[in-house]
């Protein structure tokens, strides 16, 4: 399927602000479209030849590296996904008034649509203190992350629109909580290709099996080459997570080589009878890629060449942290090898409607050291400067209490942070209100986050489009503004 890029300059900037006459359906026709419509009649067949060449070039290798729209600050992304919705007011968004007014009613209205009823304000059970040169406030839940806080760019004014996990996950991953759309990793791989032709361009490690499941990492209507390759899933420990069909227990590599050599001969003879055909030619290449992948992927997943110190850095020496630690370490190894987008998931653990004290503490314990280890390791290897690390959940939680020890979903205000790849280190951006319920200052919608991520990768979110079902689609639909203030 050929790539489509159209110039949608008409829709940049404020078009995002709810202006219904500026939908991307309205974009001017791309060169390809114009060729196509003029080639539709018989008169344009010569032009159609150009199209076929373009299509052939795209067909030849959908994962070939491609130039960005503008110089990129980040080459790849590692997304640390905290499924369930970590509480901003218990982690990174310090709200002294919440402690002062504990037990009092929220002094302003709650949203019209909520997932459950909540009561009065609930102070955080955890102490906050300032860390690093930047003096950022971090709660005692994240002592290790507090140690690398000067590398982080905190966005305290994240907001989305869906108050349920399923809708919010899809919105975070695909930009839409209404329809099945391509995942951000698919868009990015579609835009930039991959830097390692022996590996998939988009990998998700132990992804969730619920709340949209594979629709969170699917390529939807983009070509299948941009679909994430899943290593295992949330029901499988990271050390047993594998690419589907990556091996079998009876065919040796030498035997498989014999088979591929025979196949290559057969295909060559067959091709001689068919005349030129790119799809047929591409098939034998796909077998060779699979053959190389069979060697490359397990090698990357085999961490026996890492030092004790590195393993300890990620918490692989501790039963509590070793599972997520291994995910983070694999993420570094894949990133180092040129995989464009790697997602690791701490699956559906952060949903504390009750049991906040106990479970938020154990969740944080499982991820804190591995995350800090990943940041330090990327930094030490010089990878942090062109790797964009993103941390966050599908939404935040209410500062008001659910029961005595819980918080409800809150898509109206939450904290996500980024590190590396062109964002200002040690920065805090945006604010929620005094209690941490609503984002109120320098609000960053999920669409804005997507626009900013694409921008850092050298992609203009208004130009990265794909024609499907009669219109040009974007990751950001008709929305999204790059948050320039946080860029280096």
């Amino acid at each position: 399927m050929p790539r489509q890029r159209t110039d949608l300059a008409a829709h940049t900037g404020r078009a995002a602000r709810a202006h219904w006459n500026a939908c991307n359906c309205a974009g001017p026709l791309s060169r390809r479209d114009m060729l196509r419509s003029s080639a539709a009649g018989f008169a344009g067949l010569a032009l159609a030849g150009l199209l076929a060449d373009e299509a052939a070039a795209a067909n030849a290798n959908p994962l070939a590296p491609r130039l960005p729209h503008h110089p990129a600050k980040a080459k790849r992304v590692i997304f640390l996904f905290m499924h369930g919705g970590p509480s901003q007011v218990d982690t990174f968004d310090y709200k002294p008034l919440l402690a002062r007014d504990h037990g009092k009613p929220l002094p302003f209205a709650k949203p019209r649509v909520v997932s459950s009823e909540t009561g009065n304000l609930l102070k955080s059970p955890w102490q906050f203190s300032q860390h690093g040169q930047s003096g950022a406030w971090v709660s005692e839940l994240f002592p290790h992350v507090a140690g690398v806080v000067d590398e982080l760019c905190m966005i305290h004014s994240m907001h989305g629109s869906n108050s349920r996990h399923g809708g919010a996950l899809l919105e975070l991953h695909t930009g839409s909580d209404t329809f099945v759309r391509p995942s951000m990793g698919s868009w990015i791989t579609y835009g930039l290709g991959s830097e390692n032709q022996d590996l998939p361009g988009f990998i998700t490690i132990c992804p969730t099996l619920t709340h949209g499941a594979e629709n969170n990492y699917s390529s939807a209507f983009l070509p299948a080459a941009y679909q994430a390759t899943a290593l295992g899933n949330a029901s499988i420990p990271a050390d047993r997570a594998k690419i589907p069909f990556i091996d079998n227990d009876q065919t040796s590599r030498a035997a498989q080589r014999l088979e591929l050599d025979l196949l290559r001969q057969m295909e060559a003879e067959h091709l001689a009878t068919t005349g030129p055909d790119l799809a047929l030619e591409g098939r034998i290449d796909s077998f060779e890629l699979a053959f190389r992948m069979q060697a490359a992927a397990p090698r990357l997943q085999d961490i026996s060449d890492e030092t004790e110190a590195t393993l300890a850095l990620y918490g692989l020496d501790d039963a509590k942290t070793k599972n997520f630690g291994r995910q983070c370490l694999m993420a570094r190894r894949f990133a180092e090898s040129g995989v464009r987008f790697v997602q690791v998931s701490h699956s559906y653990k952060w949903d504390q409607h009750g049991g906040l004290r106990k479970d938020h503490a154990s969740n944080a314990l499982e991820v804190d050291k591995p995350i800090a280890g990943l940041i330090r390791d990327l930094k030490a290897r010089g990878l942090l400067e062109d790797t964009l690390v993103l941390w966050g959940g599908e939404f935040g939680r209410t500062p008001t209490a659910q029961g005595g020890d819980g918080r409800d979903h809150n898509p109206h205000g939450s904290t996500m942070w980024m590190a590396g790849g062109g964002v200002k280190p040690g920065m805090r951006y945006g604010n929620t209100d005094d209690y941490g319920y609503y984002a109120v200052e320098n609000k960053v919608h999920l669409h804005d986050l997507h626009a900013t991520m694409l921008h850092l990768l050298g992609l203009d979110h208004t130009k990265l489009t794909y024609r499907y079902a009669g219109r040009d689609f974007r990751l950001t639909d008709v929305h999204g503004e790059v948050v320039h203030d946080i860029l280096t």
Binding site: N162, S163, G166, P223, F245, N248, T251, F287, G470
Partner: protein, 838 residues
């Protein structure tokens, strides 16, 4: 409706200010003239500067006037923009401006950073005061905003797809010996106009393979190939096509194609992946409809309005009800806290699917604004949406919501069910009463024993245990047991009534246009009717008491509908030639592609309707042509003049589709189970198929045809998704055929391929011992032909090397031989000759 969320303190300040101002200055008027000096001062110091500093950048005199809104005069505020008036003087609660600055639900302005509370309070107070604007009488009224909704361009109807198909005489051709069917004249004439000639006919071996995959999705058995090759009669191919069309395998293949259009699945997908355990009845209905050549117009009427057709016998009524499952099958967000949004999203999915499935129109684009390219205004969209708003396709909109299912039972049986439910209610009542008696007696007894100090160990004195079941008297226990047994006995007599996904009408309701697609901003009423560009001024009437579904179905299937027949003949053509005459089968609008041969498309569409919308007749018409029998032979001349083969100078080569690949592997290697229908899904209805830590546990390890494997949305069988199975979350008339590494990994390592090729190797080794004979058997089985001498010797050499490699790894000779032949079979099955159709 505006339901703002603003700080109470702000509200307080606002009202205090307003009340104070009014009390102190009774002269303050609501006429906006700003006659009052204090009000004027307040406006000039607290309001105008805020508007100027915070809003004019986008809504001022020199700006782009986003949303067609200006905020630089009172009249402009009153006039408002796309979303309606910005203020309602005296009523801040219902003023959009105030809702926006409070970052309410409709719009949030300024979008990035909320105004300081003080400024919000001032604006609120000012509106409450009547929005006085000094000098507003002196002509600073705004320029009229440009009209947003353009009227339907009268020329819009001229677009080819909105004009009825035109009949034409068979075009003249030079090579009069080539055409054997009318459609050949259209194809050849187009080729000759570009000085091209059609490819030579394909050989009979390829022809039977092509026809069998096209109609059955399966390879022909080697014996069938032999028979066809031996049949030299002139009508051999016509008889082959008839035989293939008469086989139930046909409905399985073409039914599956329709299921892509119907976005069929056995689970909801989206956010809450619940099993739709009754969906399979719709799938079986589709297979049966294709097998008995149900006329396509009737097929549409049944799927859209089967429940509303004149009653017939029970079986017919049930079948029609099952057909309406089409409307219920779509993916839905079942956990959406806003039920109105959930409902409109479901309606939208229905409108979008119907538009593209039956008319090739992307109506969904018009949900938020007039369609940018096709003449579909939002009003048309909401007119159609009203029809589905008036249709019950959901049981409820709770979290987690439940879709609509209908019992397949006649009125007598339903009456029996109702009577039975009454008995159940009575029995449940009796059970509850008996439990209450036992509980009360036990409680009383407990207190008595407490008083007597005779409570046993483990019971805290002074507290009645929550669970008293262990304290019931023996008489009460007996009585309870009896009632329980009766209740259980009764359950056995429950009338056995199957259920299907299906819809019914509910109180009809016209929708208002949803501005920007949001149910929070409603515009004009859009009475239920059909798109103006197609239905024009001769709109069929929809009775006030009807949803309009039946009228929609009848309108769609009118003989003169410009799109319905064209869209379907194009789908069938695509099923035979790999590409449609319109290469965007789901989009016949302006952004779709124009037909490559419109006279041919129109001719086929008209003949299709004349034949009584018979799909089997259409297959015959297409296949019994020389166009269909062309080979895929490459020609430099053709490739240079028409690289995309739009004029059909040869047959398109196509890769087998996901189901064809799996079914062909099964059929070739180990035999395929021919049973039809029913469900292999074991999950209970409306329970999770995948959840937090449980992978899709559906068992695909089965030799039934692929169409019968459950389709689990967002966790599609990995073999299918590797080979471009259509995403079942959206209708899809054209699957891509990608070439990616996971497909190769599947062929190299999947248990399915390993096991099937092992079975085949073992079977071959039971049949023959000689290597050359074995090679012949393997080629015949997989490729339907004997190997060449070169291929035979290469196979023998491969086997020898493979065996010696395994011997080096200490594998027993017999096992090594089996594995070597298994490897050869695997290579043959992986090859392009197997995976592609010439």
């Amino acid at each position: 409706m505006i339901r703002p969320t603003w700080p109470i303190c702000v509200l307080f300040v606002a009202w205090r200010f307003a009340a104070g101002a009014l009390a102190a200055e009774p002269a303050a008027s609501n006429d906006g003239k700003g006659g009052d000096e204090a009000a004027a001062k307040f406006f000039e110091t607290n309001v105008r500067p805020v508007l100027a500093a915070r809003c004019y950048e986008c809504h001022g005199p020199d700006s782009k006037r986003e949303g067609n809104l200006r905020l630089d005069s009172r009249a402009a505020l009153l006039k408002g923009g796309d979303l309606g008036p910005a203020i309602k003087p005296g009523d801040p609660q219902n003023s959009l401006l105030i809702d926006a600055v409070r970052h309410g639900e409709v719009v949030q302005m300024p979008p990035k950073t909320k105004l300081p509370a003080r400024e919000i309070a001032d604006l609120t107070a000012w509106v409450a005061q009547g929005a006085p604007w000094p000098g507003s009488a002196q002509g600073d009224s705004p320029q009229p905003a440009p009209k947003v909704e353009a009227a339907l361009d009268p020329q819009a109807r001229e677009f080819w797809a909105f004009q009825p198909p035109r009949d034409s005489a068979l075009p003249a051709v030079q090579n009069t010996s080539w055409p054997i069917s009318p459609l050949d004249f259209f194809v050849l004439s187009a080729l000759e106009a570009r000085s091209l000639s059609p490819a030579p006919a394909t050989d009979k071996r390829q022809l039977i393979r092509r026809a069998t995959f096209d109609l059955h999705g399966l390879p022909p058995a080697p014996e069938e190939v032999d028979r066809f090759l031996a049949d030299t009669s002139s009508d051999a191919f016509a008889r082959l096509v008839d035989r293939l069309l008469a086989s139930p395998r046909y409905g399985e293949r073409w039914g599956r194609r329709w299921l892509d259009i119907a976005r069929y699945a056995d689970s909801n997908g989206m956010d809450e992946n619940m099993a739709m355990a009754h969906a399979w009845r719709y799938r079986d209905y589709v297979v049966a409809a294709f097998n008995r050549d149900l006329p396509y117009d009737e097929f549409i009427r049944q799927q859209l309005a089967g429940d509303l057709l004149p009653p017939a016998d029970d079986a017919t009524n049930f079948e029609r009800l099952v057909a309406t499952g089409f409307l219920v099958l779509g993916p839905k967000m079942l956990a959406e806290d806003d039920p109105v949004k959930m409902e409109m999203d479901i309606v939208d999915e229905q409108v979008d699917t119907i538009g593209r499935a039956f008319m090739g129109l992307t109506l969904g684009c018009a949900r938020c604004h007039d369609h940018k390219f096709d003449p579909i205004p939002t009003a048309d969209y909401y007119s159609l949406a009203g029809i589905f708003k008036s249709t019950k396709s959901m049981e409820n909109y709770r979290v987690v919501a439940m879709w609509s299912e209908r019992p397949l039972a006649n009125s007598q049986k339903l009456a029996r069910l109702a009577e039975f439910e009454k008995q159940v209610a009575r029995a449940d009542g009796a059970l509850k009463a008996a439990e209450q008696v036992a509980k009360d007696d036990a409680t009383q007894d407990f207190y008595q024993r407490l008083l007597a100090g005779a409570v046993g160990q483990g019971v805290v004195p002074g507290a009645v245990p929550k669970d008293l079941a262990g304290f019931y008297s023996s008489e009460n226990n007996d009585a309870l047991a009896k009632v329980k047994a009766e209740r259980a006995e009764l359950e056995k007599a429950r009338p056995d009534i199957p259920y299907a996904l299906g819809v019914s009408d509910r109180t009809p309701q016209d929708l208002r246009v949803h501005l920007r697609g949001s149910h929070l901003t409603l515009g004009e009423l859009a009475p239920r009717r059909f798109p103006a560009v197609l239905a024009g001024d001769t709109q069929p009437t929809i009775a006030p008491a009807a949803s309009g579904r039946l009228e929609l179905a009848r309108w769609l299937t009118r003989a003169d509908h410009p799109l319905t027949a064209r869209v379907m003949v194009n789908r069938v053509w695509q099923g035979h030639f790999g590409e449609g005459l319109v290469r965007t089968p789901d989009n016949f609008g302006k952004l779709g592609q124009q037909p490559d041969n419109q006279p041919l498309l129109d001719w086929l569409a008209l003949r299709f309707v004349e034949s009584g919308w018979s799909i089997k007749t259409l297959h015959r018409r297409i296949m019994l042509s020389n166009a269909y029998r062309m080979s895929t032979t490459y020609s430099e001349r053709g490739a240079a003049a028409d690289p995309e083969n739009r004029l059909l100078w040869r047959m398109n080569r196509r890769r087998l589709e996901a189901e064809e690949i799996r079914d062909a592997i099964l059929a070739t290697c180990g035999g395929i189970h021919g049973a039809m229908g029913g469900t292999l899904l074991t999950n209970k209805n409306h329970t999770y198929v995948t959840s937090t830590a449980s992978a899709n546990d559906v068992n695909y390890d089965n030799t039934r045809r692929s169409i019968y494997l459950p389709v689990v949305r967002s966790a599609v069988y990995e073999v299918f998704s590797a080979f471009d199975f259509a995403d079942p979350s959206t209708m899809n008339g054209k699957r891509p055929a990608t070439t990616v590494a996971p497909q190769a990994l599947f062929m190299m390592n999947s248990p399915l391929v390993l096991r099937q090729t092992r079975d085949l190797a073992e079977e071959l080794l039971r049949t023959a011992t000689d290597d050359a004979a074995l090679a012949t058997l393997a080629y015949r089985r997989v490729h339907g032909r004997a190997p060449s001498a070169n291929e035979t010797s290469r196979a023998i050499e491969f086997i020898a090397r493979y065996q010696s490699g395994l011997a080096g790894a200490n594998v027993e000779p017999a096992e090594a031989r089996t594995r070597a032949w298994q490897a050869l079979c695997r290579v043959l099955i992986s090859s392009n000759e197997f995976m592609y159709l010439e």
